[in-house]
Symmetry: C2
Amino acid sequence: MINSPASETELLARAKSIAGLSLQALAQSLQYDLPTDFQHHKGWLGLLLELALGATAGSAAEPDFPDLSIELKTVPVNAIGKPQESTFVCTVPNQIELQWRDSVVYHKMKKVLWVPVEMHKPIPERCIGMAVLATMTPEQETILQQDWLELTEALITGHADSLTAKYGQMLQIRPKAANSSIVEAAIDAEGNPTKIMPRGFYLRTDYTAAILEQYYL
Amino acid sequence: MINSPASETELLARAKSIAGLSLQALAQSLQYDLPTDFQHHKGWLGLLLELALGATAGSAAEPDFPDLSIELKTVPVNAIGKPQESTFVCTVPNQIELQWRDSVVYHKMKKVLWVPVEMHKPIPERCIGMAVLATMTPEQETILQQDWLELTEALITGHADSLTAKYGQMLQIRPKAANSSIVEAAIDAEGNPTKIMPRGFYLRTDYTAAILEQYYL
DNA sequence: CAGGATCCAGACGTGGATCCGT
DNA sequence: ACGGATCCACGTCTGGATCCTG
């Protein structure tokens, strides 16, 4: 267990110190086993970086660095540093907030340390990239807020079951469960009880790409 | 995995067939490891008997034999067959029922298969006793109902924190948690939020002793 | 390519009870 | 003796994400 960074400066220094390291090098220094594939072990990279940076792993309803109010996100990138995947933000709550600024999505996105990791090489040779600490620009917040309002509106009016990943410019809703047989209780548009898969909010790949470009240029 | 008994008759036949077996013999036939102590492994005996009798293990909010509406209880007895310990019934629910016949305690106690097990010998040599299938007599139900009403009254009026195991003639409330640092939210008598240990309903040893005597004589 | 589906680790809750100090 | 405290197994939930098929 590594202690938590005491300040934003210290966190950024740590992030800088691991930039450029290969996964093999970082994992070995932390006595953390390298998996042979990510198909099984999908969350391995995120846990490795939490450990390396001193995030409080496994805590719910709190940012990864509670004292700093900073969220940690790993972002898989290709050979030219461009994000390759959407980013999971949080599960869709049972009790949906009514105001954007009260939402879990807003609080998660308020201040995020994005740590890019190469995905185009064999796992041991993949390198940690230079992290960027991002807050939303007013323009970005406006887009996310609009998306969130649209999605939330559909959820509240009972259209959760017809809410596909196609909605939302930068923020979308997709399934989030161990498998498709997992269901939870919901209320449909007619007010009747129904069953739906648990869902999560995800950031589209383009959004994350824009964040990284903004800080790298 | 052993299939579930199809009828009360079949269940009683199974119980009879394991009566007299030593724990070593029964565990071995089920390929279930014998522990060297019960201090660690407190629930081992209950799980062994669930497996031996075909109960649906690990299911919540249902009797152990759902099709038969029968609950399975292991009862530790001394050299002369007398119960030595109180019996855990169920956890105290967050939302307390208002009517005795709607309560979890009532439904758990409605029909119980009590399986005595000797505790005065070394673990491998302890023998399974003859089980008894018990329903509450009107007199027993009256006592339990009175106890339940008294305890429930105290819980509802916010006196949960001053509710000790001393209350109740046959049914009592005691802590039920991994350790005393575990707390859950509650409301005190003044209506203020407070924290208490999770609790459970337990049958006093005398009650269980009376059940066994009633069927053995 | 991207929407829908899936996978692991670790925390947490519940059911199975017995332990142990005063 | 018994009231208060504790211990294990196992299923479920949550946070970490990437997989994969049309």
